[in-house]
Structure formats: structure tokens, C-alpha cells
């Protein structure tokens, strides 16, 4: 019997996971051994904010770690915290902000765990200045079925440290993480917003604003055709120098059940995209904004993934090196527009050249594009194969955290270090993703 049923964020592929809950660190080894004895292999599970099958166990029995959410110690003079791996970034922010500290790197949702952030070596809107999450993790404790507890850092068990950052939960269970925070003077941001009309304009804005801003990102209209093709909104921000250190109140709305308004694609998302573009003024604006709407615009609506209905959705996220980025992105946008579907939400972001300590980290210097599509048959059979070949030819790669379709061949080309991760994999851990791409 399991304690809870869990799914990935995209709910595709649909393999509900039996969650075996671990509540106390003192019992983690016992809980781990127990699930493995009964089900052969397992996989650590955080908050399931990965889209595809990388957070699904090959055995469909995961070790649920969300209750390991405690701080172990904190030094508020230096901004260093040690916390259990199931603590969410939302909970870190709640204790850190009032004391003048912020996450060094945050993805577009705060409902991810520290363990999940390390295992996917997540990146944020400041990749061009801070690199990935793993760069800010000094040490972590790993529990292995064959070695017991191991403390990893760049100096101790360095191979395991490198394999675990971006290691997709396969190299052991991260028990705790030591994270270095960054100082802030206010929880507000000073946000510059500029509308743009073409992909070329995006590149020009990125050249101009990336150097002057800690955070930059662009939204692009996934449905725009003809003259409006390539239109979008560029946002750039820095932490404000003045203001208070207040924590935003939690979410207030949630989608209570499957409400497939986005599932059919087409008219509604097209309208949303168009409205979003026109909501922004044509000229450049600078506004003070709370951290919540800037970093986590989607967190305000709980379970928004249910808007895609029961069949779920897929995200396609790639990164393309600078020298091929312009034509490749153009080609990708044209291909999706031609496919008729269009992406409900598309995001562009420049990745910088700060190297990650991890072996299988996703970002590379270049431009990342993420697009959300309701799940359909044509997506896997027609659209993604075309997009994959564009990415492959441009020398880019896909993001395992968002993936439900990448071929084994592509994966091994994109992540040649995979065999080193496989060599350090804990024999008691395996995911559906890993089985698919290494088989």
C-alpha cells in the first residue's frame, strides 16, 4: 500500500506513481531499503514540477520526500543555510527574505524542492550572471543503497558531486543541501518592460539589457503570424535598493479539477497570447514590482496544469548555441506556427557562459526557448521530430526536466557525459526517462 498517488506536472506520459512517504531523516535509509526490497528500484520525488517522465520511477514506486522540509542550520550573517532536501524554494524565501537574503537562482515556480533543484540543476532568469543552481550548492548529503551516507562537495567525493548535480535523482537520495544565498536590500524589483516586434529585436534587446540587469527573460507570442510574427515582451530586472523585506502572501486561487480550456489549442490560447501582448505599452517602462509577480507569475493559480485537461501537456525546451540561434529559433517558431497548434506559452532566455559543476547540466551559452503544447498525437509524431532535427543540426540540446519524447540517440548526443552518470548511478534507483534514453 502506498501513502499517496503522484504525477508529473505535464501528466504526460500518464503513469501515476505510488508515493512512499519519508517523514524523518532518521528513517530515510530504512524507508529507502523498504521500497527497494518490495519494488526492486525506486526514485526520489520532490514536488513533481518536472513535466515529462524524468521524475517517474521505472518501478512506478517513488520515495516521496516533501515532508523532509526542515532547516538543519542557518547562518544569517553569511546567508548560508543547510536544509533537508524536501524543503521548497517557497519555504526558503519565507525565512530568508525578512533577513535580507534571496535565492541565488530560481526557476519559474517556487514550488520545487532543494533536492529537485539540484537533480535538474535548474536555471533562472539570471543564468547569464549566476549560472545554474548547482554552482551555489557547496555540499550536500547523499544516501546510497550501496555506500550509505556520503557527504559530497567539489573536494570530497568530487565525482559523485559532479554526477549528482543535474544527475536526475539517479546517483543517490539527496538528504540535505548546503546553499549559499544572495543578499538583497528589498524584496521588490525594478523591472524594465519593452515590447518587441521581431526576433531580431529580441536579440538587440538582449544585447543591450543583459549586461545591465541581473534578470532577463522574454515572452513571445506563439500564435502570431505574418507581420506580427516574432512579437513579444522583454523584461529585465534588478533587485531594488530601497523598499521593505516583505514576504508575499500565498496563492489564493486554484483550479479544483480538470478544466480543459487549453486542451484543444486554438482560439482561446491565441486570444490570451494576443491580449498579453497588447496589455503591455508599446514604449519602454520601468516599474517597481514585487518578486512574486516577476519570478512566479503562474504560481498565483494553483494546479494551473489542470487547464490542459486529463491528457496533459508537454513542454519543449531547447537551448541553441549563439552562432546558430537566430536562424534555428526562426525555423522552430515557423514550424510550430505551421503545424497549426501554436504554443500556449513561449519563453526565450539567454544562457551565459558560466560553467556548471554538474556533468549533465542543461544550459549552454546560447538562447533557450520553452514552449507549452496540449498533448495530441501529432505533437509526438509530426511536430517534435521536426523540432528535434532543427535543434540537433543547430548543435543545441533538449532539457530532460521538461522532456517526454527525446530519442535515446539524441540524448546521448546532447549529453555525452551520460555514461559517467550511468557508471555512478545507484543500482537501486532508476527512472522511466533513464530507461527510455539509455535502453
Amino acid at each position: 500500500m502506498s501513502d499517496e498517488t503522484l504525477t508529473s506536472w505535464g501528466a504526460y506520459p500518464h503513469f501515476p506513481q505510488s508515493g512512499h512517504m519519508c517523514t524523518w531523516r532518521s528513517r530515510l535509509a530504512e524507508n529507502f531499503a523498504d521500497v527497494v526490497a518490495r519494488h526492486g528500484t525506486t526514485l526520489p520525488f520532490g514536488k513533481g514540477r518536472s513535466y515529462g517522465d524524468s521524475c517517474l520511477a521505472a518501478s512506478d514506486h517513488v520515495l516521496s520526500l516533501r515532508r523532509l522540509d526542515r532547516l538543519i542550520s542557518a547562518d544569517w550573517q553569511t546567508g548560508t543555510i543547510v536544509a533537508e532536501a524536501g524543503m521548497t524554494l517557497a519555504d526558503v524565501l519565507k525565512v530568508a527574505i525578512p533577513r535580507g537574503w534571496f535565492l541565488p537562482v530560481t526557476p519559474g515556480t517556487k514550488f520545487v524542492t532543494l533536492g529537485g533543484a539540484v537533480a535538474n540543476d535548474v536555471h533562472g532568469k539570471n543564468h547569464h550572471v549566476r549560472g545554474t543552481f548547482g554552482r551555489h550548492v557547496r555540499t550536500f548529503g547523499l544516501l546510497r543503497s550501496d555506500r550509505g551516507q556520503v557527504v559530497c562537495s567539489a573536494n570530497d567525493d568530487a565525482d559523485l558531486y559532479a554526477a549528482t548535480i543535474g544527475g536526475l535523482g539517479l546517483t543517490g537520495i539527496i538528504e540535505w543541501v548546503e546553499l549559499q544565498l544572495i543578499p538583497i536590500r528589498s524584496s521588490q524589483l525594478t523591472v524594465t518592460t519593452v515590447r518587441f516586434n521581431t526576433l531580431d529585436d529580441f536579440f538587440a534587446l538582449s544585447d543591450e539589457l543583459d549586461g545591465k540587469n541581473e534578470y532577463t527573460v522574454a515572452w513571445i507570442d506563439g500564435f502570431a503570424r505574418g507581420a506580427s510574427k516574432g512579437r513579444g515582451v522583454f523584461t529585465a530586472a534588478n533587485h531594488a535598493d530601497t523598499g521593505d523585506l516583505s514576504v508575499a502572501a500565498g496563492k489564493n486561487l486554484a483550479v479544483p479539477f480538470h478544466l480543459p480550456v487549453l486542451a484543444a489549442g486554438g482560439a482561446l490560447p491565441r486570444l490570451f497570447n494576443s491580449l498579453y501582448f497588447h496589455k503591455h505599452a508599446a514604449h519602454r517602462r520601468v516599474d517597481p514590482t514585487g518578486y512574486e509577480p516577476f519570478f512566479y507569475p503562474l504560481d498565483g493559480i494553483g494546479h494551473w496544469n489542470r487547464l490542459y485537461g486529463r491528457h496533459g501537456f508537454q513542454q519543449f525546451q531547447c537551448v541553441i548555441p549563439h552562432k546558430t540561434a537566430q536562424p534555428a529559433l526562426q525555423h522552430i517558431l515557423e514550424t510550430t506556427a505551421r503545424s497549426g497548434g501554436g504554443s500556449c506559452l513561449s519563453v526565450l532566455k539567454r544562457c551565459g557562459d558560466l560553467a556548471s559543476p554538474g556533468l549533465m547540466s542543461f544550459p549552454m551559452p546560447g538562447i533557450s526557448l520553452a514552449m507549452d503544447f496540449p498533448q495530441t498525437n501529432t505533437l509526438d509524431k509530426v511536430v517534435f521530430p521536426q523540432l528535434d532535427s532543427i535543434v540537433r543540426e543547430a548543435g543545441g540540446r533538449l532539457y530532460p526536466a521538461k522532456d517526454a519524447h527525446m530519442t535515446a540517440e539524441d540524448f546521448r548526443r546532447f549529453y555525452p557525459a551520460w555514461s559517467r552518470v550511468e557508471a555512478t548511478r545507484d543500482p537501486a534507483l532508476c527512472s522511466r526517462f533513464w530507461k527510455r534514453v539509455t535502453a
Partner: protein
């Protein structure tokens, strides 16, 4: 500066409350049966700026109860807020098959709570201020065939607290009876509870803090359990017997 005593400090609901209370200047005295887990809670609260001390209690050894309060008052000086949170959800079928199990569970969920409250009330009375929050349950509002052992123990706690509230009112001490519905904690793991009925411990904790502030006597949390339980109490016996609630 507030002084907080928590019995059953490893409970998920208790931890959620403690995190709301934890800040620079808060001093906790944490009581529970497992030393390592208590220490994890202590460390979490300390990292949030509070100070905390732990005390391991074997709940079956009732003769050791007075020492809890001696050490607590020696450490904190006084108690501004006491939270009684320990409890277990026994398997009703087992309780029907074995009277010893039934009585052991009853003693934990009702007997130990009443004993602890009796000792605590005597220590707090001379303070002439402070508050005591006790985790009872909606299950105590009416015995249901699927969990009437647990329900009857919570009913005893609820009724005891009604009286204690009126008694301690004269001394300026407030008693809050907390009746949660279903909460997402280790206690309810594996139970087939529909997601919308399952509250997060944090939501319950915020309700408890607000109720303590407004000096409410009985708290249903989340609020919708009050009308639900009203309906359940109103169902005539003849009908209730036939429902397998």
C-alpha cells in the same frame, strides 16, 4: 518574548504552528517520544531564530508526567502558549477485536491528554494569563462506526476542555479546543480522502493562531467543518445507523 510549550512536538500540525510562532525571542519547550525527531524540530526552529529545548517523554509512564512541567517551568519561567498535539488514529477493527488495544489507544488520546492538562492547569493558574490549545477532532462530535474509539476519546477531550475553559477563565487563562477535519499529515497517510477535503497543516496552523488571538473557544478548521458536523449531528439515529460513515 513568548514562551511556548508543545506536547507532541513532532506532530505535523504542531510543527506548522511552531513555525508560525518561531522568531527571535520565542522560547520553546518541546515534548515528544522520539529524541532524534525532536532534535530535528528543535534545529528547524533554532534556524528560524527561536530557542528550543527538548524533553523526551514515554507517554505510557504517567508517573513521569510531573517532571515535564517541572523542567518546562524551570527552563521557561512561565508558559504563554501551551499546545497539546499528540494523538494516534487507531484501526477501529483492531480496537473491536482487542479490548487492550482499544484501551491503550483511549488512554493515549484521552487519558494522557486529561492527565497532562490537569497538571498543566495547576501550574498555569497562578500566572493569571496564558493560553492552552488542545488538538481534539471533528471525530469527537459524533461516534461513527468506522472510528468510534478515536471519536470517543476526542469527545472526552472536547468535553473536558469545555469545563476547563470555564474553570480557567476565572484565572485569565484561555482554553482553545481545536477540531480539525482531514489534514495532510502522517496520521492520514494512505487514507482515501478526496483532495479538496484534505487541508494543509499550515492552513490549520494559521486558523489556530487566529483563534488564539481572538480568544475563540472552539475552532473548526477549515471552517466548513462546522456546518458539515452540524448536519452529521442532526441526522436522526434511525438513519445514522444505516449509513456507514
Amino acid at each position: 518574548m513568548s514562551k511556548v510549550l508543545i506536547i507532541g512536538a513532532t506532530s505535523a500540525i504542531a510543527i506548522a504552528c511552531a513555525r508560525e510562532w518561531a522568531k527571535e525571542g520565542t522560547a520553546f519547550f518541546l515534548v515528544g517520544r522520539n529524541a532524534r525527531d525532536l532534535d530535528d524540530v528543535r534545529a528547524d526552529l533554532a534556524a528560524r531564530g527561536a530557542t528550543a529545548q527538548t524533553h523526551v517523554l514515554d507517554f505510557a509512564a504517567t508517573e513521569t508526567y510531573p517532571a515535564v512541567f517541572e523542567q518546562c517551568f524551570a527552563a521557561l519561567g512561565r508558559v504563554d502558549i501551551a499546545l497539546i498535539a499528540h494523538g494516534s488514529l487507531p484501526d477501529q477493527k483492531q480496537c473491536e477485536a482487542d479490548a487492550d488495544i482499544a484501551m491503550r489507544e483511549f488512554m493515549l488520546n484521552a487519558g494522557s491528554v486529561i492527565r497532562l492538562l490537569t497538571l498543566l492547569a495547576a501550574r498555569m493558574e497562578p500566572q493569571k494569563s496564558g493560553a492552552i490549545a488542545v488538538l481534539s477532532s471533528v471525530a469527537g462530535d459524533r461516534g461513527r462506526p468506522t472510528n468510534y474509539l478515536y471519536g470517543s476519546a476526542k469527545a472526552a477531550v472536547t468535553t473536558f476542555c469545555d469545563g476547563l475553559r470555564a474553570q480557567l477563565f476565572k484565572s485569565g487563562i484561555h482554553v482553545l479546543t481545536v477540531k480539525p477535519g482531514f489534514v495532510d499529515t502522517p496520521m492520514t497517510r494512505g487514507l482515501p480522502i478526496p483532495g479538496i477535503l484534505l487541508a494543509q497543516p499550515r492552513t490549520v496552523a494559521r486558523d489556530i493562531l487566529a483563534a488564539l488571538k481572538s480568544r475563540k473557544g472552539v475552532l473548526y478548521t477549515p471552517f466548513f467543518w462546522r456546518p458539515i458536523m452540524w448536519i452529521i449531528r442532526m441526522i436522526p439515529d434511525g438513519v445514522f445507523k444505516k449509513l456507514n460513515l
